[in-house]
């Protein structure tokens, strides 16, 4: 019962703070268009590259054009959602611990991680990725005449949610390193950069890289595993998706808490 009260409270806070962000978004319309438009343009270029690749061959590593588009589109859904809600972690990795401003998240009556993230809820630049991702997934699915069963349709949002949690956890994990190193931006950036591999079929890559992206930095579970399930009905890896998500969230929160404890000690 108590847990339910907590969940309701955080949900209401999120809703309220998101509304505040939307208001900010209408104030700075040009900024919003530039940010969201920039990411949209990036996706357009990625699609163009895939188009040029498929002008040369009918399929690559067993994937056809629209299947690759579906994978790319799907990969943008958790990425866009993650960008909309956890962008403040970048700021934290770069400077909030270094300049001591982090303390202000510790004195609020909510969880410090929520307190941190809430400063940039509904970060508008994520809209570009989310909308193009949805459009691309929809277009590719329609073209492939993907007849998904009720089970798959119900599972799909959950898969996106798990992907978002995995991305957010990787980010939290690397941003938390700032508690020890004061600036974890380079590490976070490097980890984030490797996510670029996940928008393409993992079958392209050398097995060692595939292993790395599955088990070490599990980006494979944010796009490749769910997309191969929805496209080809491959279920072998699907149970692992939930195990990895749960494990990673736990690990990220544990590291975060250790870091916060450390920060309090040095702050006194």
């Amino acid at each position: 019962m108590r847990a339910l009260t907590v969940v309701t409270r955080y949900a209401r806070l999120t809703w309220h703070l998101s509304a505040v962000s939307v208001h900010r978004l209408t104030e700075y319309r040009m900024d919003f268009l530039l940010g969201a438009g920039g990411l949209l343009l990036r996706v357009v270029c990625q699609v163009a590259v895939i188009g040029m690749v498929f002008r040369q061959v009918p399929e690559i590593a067993g994937w056809r054009y629209h299947e690759v588009l579906f994978l790319l589109g799907f990969s943008l859904l958790p990425r866009g959602l993650d960008r909309m809600f956890t962008d403040q972690l970048w700021v934290m990795a770069r400077k909030l611990v270094q300049n001591g401003e982090f303390f202000r998240y510790l004195i609020r009556p909510v969880h410090p991680l929520f307190s941190l993230l809430s400063e940039r809820f509904l970060y508008p630049d994520g809209f570009g990725e989310l909308l193009t991702g949805a459009a691309l997934t929809w277009y590719a699915a329609a073209h492939l005449e993907l007849g998904l069963g009720t089970g798959a349709l119900l599972l799909a949002p959950l898969l996106v949610l798990c992907g978002t949690l995995i991305l957010a956890s990787i980010k939290t994990l690397f941003a938390s390193l700032a508690f020890w190193t004061t600036n974890s931006f380079p590490a976070l950036y490097a980890a984030n950069q490797l996510g670029d591999f996940s928008g393409y079929p993992l079958d392209l890559y050398h097995p060692s890289l595939r292993w790395l992206l599955t088990w070490l930095l599990p980006y494979a579970f944010t796009a490749y595993v769910p997309a191969t399930y929805l496209l080809f009905g491959r279920t072998a890896m699907l149970p692992w998706l939930f195990v990895v998500t749960a494990g990673l969230v736990t690990l990220a929160l544990a590291v975060w808490h250790r870091g916060v404890d450390r920060y309090e000690m040095t702050g006194s």
Partner: protein
Amino acid sequence: MKRYASFAGAGLQALLQYRSTFLISAVTATTAVGVQVFLWRAVYAGRESGMLGGFDLPTLTTYVLLAQILGLVQANRVDEEVSGEVQRGDIAVSLVRPVSYPLARFAAGLPVSLTNAVLVAVPVLLLYAVLLPLTTPTATGVLLFVCSAALSLVIGFGVNLLVGFAGFVTTNIWGVRVVKDTVVAFFAGQVVPLALMPGPLAAVAHVLPFQGMVDGPLRLLLGHYDGLPDAAGILAVQLLWAVALSGLAAVAWRGAVRRVEVLGG
């Protein structure tokens, strides 16, 4: 000349303070090369003929690798620094200095490019040379490439400076830079060589200045041209754009200064 040397020194010092940017650049370039090389290797594997737009696999791999490295060397953070100065208002200090602002910026950016070339580009190049078969360019190719790469640096600088001036107009510089990075990389031929683009798209790319940043230098290096007149043509177009962009940056700077004065009252 001596005046500008001090800017070069300051640029280098600022760079060495943020040594982690070398790591970031290296990871970015390595990842980008990796994604593209794997993609094109799969394309070659699925084809009967071993040629694609006049490139065999080792040559295309060399192209993709060097394209990223050129992009890395041209990324001198001038856009970021100029727009930052504009937003913080520090630009006012630059107005009272007895030097040309664009030239001082170029002087500060040059050592950044060169240091990136030595400390990041060479290791990334060596890494991939060990991992993948590459094409060794001819002596003529290298000579033409050096001239062309120097011009590409000026073009890249002009583009970055103009993007930096966008700070006078908008506060979302991050967004402007994402747009710039995407458009430039695409039309420079950094992602896909212009020779592999469909006709209309290649035509658009050829009339834009960005092709002189990556595709031009690499065509010269890899011998992708018809005889010397064609090679000279590539260099001439680059030179033209270098001059045009420098002129445009100078004009934009003058206009921006006037705007600052108005705002300053």
